[in-house]
Each structure stands twice: as C-alpha cells, then as structure tokens.
Amino acid sequence: MTFEPKIVGFLCNWCSYTGADLAGTSRIHYAPNVRIIRVMCSARIDPTFVLKALHDGADGVLICGCHPGDCHYSEGNYKMMRRYPLLKRLLADYGIEDARVRLEWVSASEGQRFADIVNDMTERVRELGPSPVQRDLISDAAER
C-alpha cells in the first residue's frame, strides 16, 4: 500500500479559502490529502499552528494567503511572508524537510492553481514518506 500523507492546510478566508471553494464549484478534482482549516487572514497563522500540526501527525503543512498586494486586510500576507523564513529556519533545525511546509498565494479566482498546488505538494510529501516528527516521537517514547 502506498503511503498517503496527511497535510493540514491553513487558508485565509478571503482569497485562498474562496479559491478552494471555486475549485469545488468548478468540479476541479485534486488529491484528497489536504484538510483545510480556515483563518481570516494568513497573518493570523501563528507558527505554533504549524508546529502543533506537525506534532499531532501531519506529514505536511500548506499555508495559503492572498497574492502580495491583494490582501483583504491590505498587508496581512506580508506579515506571513516575513514570519515564514524564520519558521522555515526553525523547522530545518528540527530536521523537517523543506517540502513539508509550504507557503503559496492563491487568489479567489485560482481554483485550478489551488488544485495544482495540492496535487504537487501531495506528490512531494508522498515521496518524502512519513514525517520524521512522528518517528522521533515514537523513539523518544520508547527511550522513556
């Protein structure tokens, strides 16, 4: 049986969540691996959400916000954009591969783009295999 990754998606309400809805109303099919959590703005995404998702068993985390310049709150996505490199540095220190956490801009009209991103990310995370976090958690527990 092939490994089916579990990916948690944090999507902003105004652009990306609406874009994902558009993929639905347009009947654009994509991989069923991403489970979406809606936030009002990508700026609301606390890095701890990503860490919590990885800790709780996610093999990947997808963050989607409005394209730069298109934020419903004018500049929330820039805040996410600035936070993201710090988060990635931290994740690298933890040994979490780059492709497991991804930031993408998806507008309300980009249903196809959302589907393409989900498919691509699912494929890459599937290639990486299960998250090392789970493996480490299990071995830590065994040592204790």
């Binding site: 994902a20 936030v39 929330g76």
Partner: protein, 574 residues
C-alpha cells in the same frame, strides 16, 4: 466536552454530497464522538425542514452546540446561525464542515472523500465545543452612497437611491455621463432610441437635488467599513484644477462598465490596415449621424458583419459577450433602412438569441434577405483587399460550416462585432474597494446565483457590465437590485456586523507595543498611563495579525482563538 450536547447534521445536498461521500457513515462516526448527543444525515439541511430539524432537536433534546457538515460556510453559515438564533441559542454556537466544495465536488475516490469528510466533521465538533457565545455589534449606517461609474447602471442606481431620499455621490471618469450606451444609436430588439432613453436618465440625474455628480472624477481612496466608509474623490473645478473632497458613505456601488475589444489584435480582419473595416461602435457613430458610407464617402453596395470578434475564442476571450448577436441583427436592419439596395451578409458562429423578444427579432431580420453564413469558432474568416476588376472593395473568405464550402463574398464595408472586456483599470478599482476579479478581470459577485449583486466585501455592490458582459435590461436590473439592497439597509438605520474582533488581556499585556504598528486599521491604542495596549473593537476587522504576533499571547481573536484552531488541528488529524 462530555457535559455538552452537540448535534451533528450531515447534509446530502440532494446527491451533490451523497453521491461521493457516505453521509450515513459520517453521521455514524460523529455519534461516537464525546459530547455528541444527536447525529443525523439529511437530504437538504439548508431547506426549511432541515433547519426546523435543528430547531426542534434543540428544543426537545436540549442541544447547545451544532455542527453542520454541508457546503462552504461562505454559503450557508448565516442560514444556520439564524436557525440557532431562532431556537434561542447563541448563533456562534454553530460550526460548518465543508464537505461539498472540499470533498464531494473535488474527489471521486469515495472512501478517501468519506474519510476526509469525517476528519473535517471531527474538527468542527472539537472546535464548536470551544466556541464562545458572542454578541453581534451594531453600527450606524450612513445613508449616503458612493456610485462609481456614470453609465446606464450607475445612473439608474443613483436615481433609485436619491428618489428614496438618500444622498448619492456619482463619480464618472470621463467628461460626460452615459457610458457606452451613449455611443449607441438604436437598441435591440425593439429598436428604441438609446438617446431618448438616456436623455431622460441624464436630465433627472443632473437636476436631482440629492445627486452630486463629479465628472472627470477619480475615487482615490475608500477607507473604513460597511456603514461608515470615507471616500476621497478628486474632481476638477471650473478652471480644470484638481479638487479633492472627502465624503462619508455607508455603501458603495461599483458600476464601471466595460471596454470594447481591440480589433487590431485579430490581424486577418485587417482592422487598422483596411480603411473600410470598422468596429461596431464606429458603425453606431455613422448610424447616429444618419450616414452609412465608406471612407471614400460612397454608400456601400455590400456590407458584411462579422460576429464574435474577440469573444468565444480561446486565443482572446473564451466567453460570449452577450449583446453582439442582437446588435448585429439590428445593424442588418438599420443598414438596409439607411442604404437603398444594399446587400448585407451576416457571418456568425452561433446565433445567440436568448433574451426576451430576441428570437422574434432574429426571425424578422432573417426574413428581410440578409445572407447568413456560419463559420467555425476555430476557423474564422479572412478579409482581404479586392482585385482591381472587382465591383467591391474587399473580399471575405468564409469556410461556411452548414454547406461545407469555402465561399468568397464581396464587401465595401466590414463591421466587426467587437466583444466586451474588463476595463484596464479594473485591477485598480478592485484594490480600491477590496473586491476580487475573475480570470477575465470581471468583478466577482458574492454568489453567482443567489447573490449576484453583493461582493465579498460587505457594503460594496456591483452593477452592470463590470461584473460580466451584460445588455441594458440586465445592467439596469442589477443596478436597481443594488439600490434596493442598500435602501433596505438604510431604512433600518443601524447595521449588525460580525461579532468577531480581537481583545487584549491587560493582565498579560507587557506593553511592548509590537501590535500597535501591525494593525492595518489603527485599531490598537496604547494607554500611556497603564502602559497597556487595547483594541478599539469598532475599528477591528478581526484579521488576527496582532494575535499571532503578540509575544505574551495577550491577544485573543474572538471566534478564531488559539484553542479553537488547536482543536481543529487535532480534529483533522484524529
């Protein structure tokens, strides 16, 4: 959570959800979760019986939280919040799991889609258990309205609003009102004069005591929120110097219209090179002047009309521009009245005669000897200069679809039915009022069928061809609908807005002021005496930027708390 009584309702949406997701299995999985007292699967949760089911379960079983696994919350969250309110439960005690747009419509693997639906349902159950009762806030509704665009849609909306007693600021970019309709002679299918129709509107708009018209105007900025926008408008005074005014409005109508397709982009029609190849708007000009003639000043013997110029063509615009077919038939009629003995050929892809009176108009026009030639979308005709010996100025080669033959027809005047396109400034306008555009640049409505007038930004409405190609009756209908929606709100005086905003826990606030500059709405104030920050809730739009940034975790986003989002993360990964 165990002391809670959560009701979970799995909507089949007819077969929209049930044909892929096993709704009974999702309900069964729900009933196993702690705190879940009732779990049902039902055909249409948004229907009256569906909502009544929730209301009566609340009454009979004492449910205190509700999860509806159905469509997108962007679609029916307000519906179910109302149902809870009706049942006497705080409307924020409902959470939706989006198992239609995110499952049944995008996955065909039924077991995988069902698993995902269960995960989304679990997340909603865990989340709703952590919901707080919130009180909706109400804000004053400024009765004035800003209308951007002085075409037929903008003027009509302005008149309806002003007639009902509201102040309207009508801002038009050009130096006159009337928009694209002002460029038209007669209108299809009843052949009424566009000028007569417009004159009535124009006179009333200009003379109306409650409409301020700003010509050569630009809206530079729209700030604030529904009920209380402030708009900065730049117009010109008598010496044509720029004059800036700032007005307060409760609502905004965007009616910026369309631009015509640039016919030069299709090179094999020769527009811009062959002098007697003209666009539909150039023909309108001739018709208005009452003289249809070639560049050489002679009445044409042969006129050819080519449809779908820039429309229904994947290379340019894939959509239909909706007005060109009837307009082309109108031209055939008008050209024949204007030029004695002229031969008119009409070169079309499909004849779209969808509107009221259109099919009759098509029949009448086809009876008066117009030569109809059908071409294939992917195989458009080619226009070239005629040879010196020919009795016509140009020749058009058409691969006629019905006969299967290549036909060459003569023409002295070729009329290109140019389609509609989103205006070049549509991106700027979208930013200005914070609305979205689709892939073709048209503004996106709140719901394509049930709410084609509102947008995703509360208080901003769209009317006319800025949303998609439209004829005059449809533009007018949408304009009047937008005005009606706004009047309904104005009449209530105050407007209920979402209860979500951010709150600072002053006990936790260290006074670092990181949040102060982050807020795009300047909604966070620093109390110099207490050395603490606090949120002015009326200004807060609940983006949550400050919440994620606070190093002391002192800020809470109501309805998007850390605890609620953590619960969702746990739920989707269960």
């Amino acid at each position: 959570m165990d002391d809670m009584k959560i009701g979970v309702y799995v909507c089949n949406c007819g077969t929209n959800i049930a044909k892929v997701v096993d709704c009974d299995a999702v309900a069964e999985a729900a009933s196993a979760l702690p705190g879940v007292a009732v779990a049902r699967s039902y055909k249409y949760m948004c229907s009256n019986p569906g909502q009544e089911m929730i209301v009566s379960d609340i009454a009979e079983q004492g449910l205190d939280r509700i999860v509806v696994a159905a469509c997108s919350p962007r679609m029916h969250e307000p519906t179910f919040r109302k149902a809870l309110q009706q049942a006497g439960v705080n409307p924020y005690y409902v959470e939706m799991a989006n198992i239609r747009e995110q499952c049944s419509w995008v996955h065909d693997d039924a077991p995988a889609a069902t698993d995902k639906a269960k995960a989304l349902m679990r997340a909603a159950v865990l989340r709703v258990a952590r919901h707080d009762a919130l009180e909706r806030r109400s804000v004053d509704m400024d009765p004035a309205t800003l209308v951007i665009g002085g075409g037929i849609a903008g003027m009509t909306a302005a008149l309806d609003l002003a007639d009902a007693g509201s102040q309207v600021y009508l801002v038009e970019q050009s130096d006159h009102l009337g928009g694209n309709v002002a460029r038209v002679d007669l209108t299809a299918p009843y052949l009424d004069s566009a000028r007569d129709m417009l004159t009535e509107r124009l006179t009333r708009v200009v003379e109306h005591p409650r409409i301020s018209v700003v010509l050569e105007g630009e809206v530079e900025e729209v700030a604030g929120f529904v009920g209380n926008f402030t708009a900065r408008i730049v117009g010109r005074d008598e010496e044509r110097r720029p004059v800036e005014t700032t007005v307060g409005v409760g609502n905004v109508i965007v009616a910026t219209g369309y631009k015509e397709f640039d016919a030069r982009r299709i090179t094999h029609y020769g527009y811009g090179k062959l002098p007697n190849v003209i666009t539909s708007f150039e023909l309108e000009k001739m018709l208005r002047a009452g003289r249809v003639e070639t560049k050489e000043g002679k009445p044409p013997q042969y006129v050819a009309i080519i449809h779908c110029v820039g429309s229904r063509n994947p290379e340019f615009n894939s959509y239909c521009s909706r007005v060109c077919c009837m307009t082309a038939l109108k031209y055939a009629h008008e050209i024949k009245s204007a030029v004695q003995g002229v031969y008119v050929s009409d070169i079309y892809v499909d004849m779209h005669a969808f509107g009221k009176g259109h099919e009759d108009f098509y029949r009448r026009t086809s009876e008066v000897k117009t030569l109809f030639l059908m071409y294939d979308k992917g195989d458009s005709p080619v226009v070239r200069r005629a040879d010196p010996g020919d009795d016509c100025g140009m020749l058009i080669e058409v691969n006629e679809k019905l006969s299967g033959e290549t036909i060459e027809i003569p023409a002295d005047l070729v009329v290109l039915m140019v389609g509609m396109e989103a205006r070049d400034d549509s991106e700027r306008v979208a930013h200005l009022v914070n609305i979205s555009r689709d892939k073709d640049g048209w503004f996106i409505e709140s719901h394509p069928k049930l709410d084609p007038v509102a947008t995703t930004t509360d208080g901003v409405f769209i009317a006319g061809a800025c949303q998609a190609p439209k004829d005059i009756p449809d533009s007018v209908a949408q304009a009047r609908a937008a005005a009606g929606r706004i009047l309904a709100r104005i009449s209530r005086g105050r407007l209920e807005i979402d209860a979500m905003y951010a709150e600072v826990d002053e006990d936790k606030c260290s006074g670092c002021r990181v949040c102060n500059d982050l807020c795009p709405y300047v909604a966070i104030e620093f109390d110099e005496e207490k050395k603490k920050s606090h949120v002015i809730s009326a200004l807060c739009k609940s983006c949550g930027a400050c919440v994620a940034a606070c190093p002391s975790s002192a800020i809470t986003a109501l309805h998007f708390t850390d605890a609620q989002i953590f619960a969702e993360i746990e739920g989707v990964l269960l």
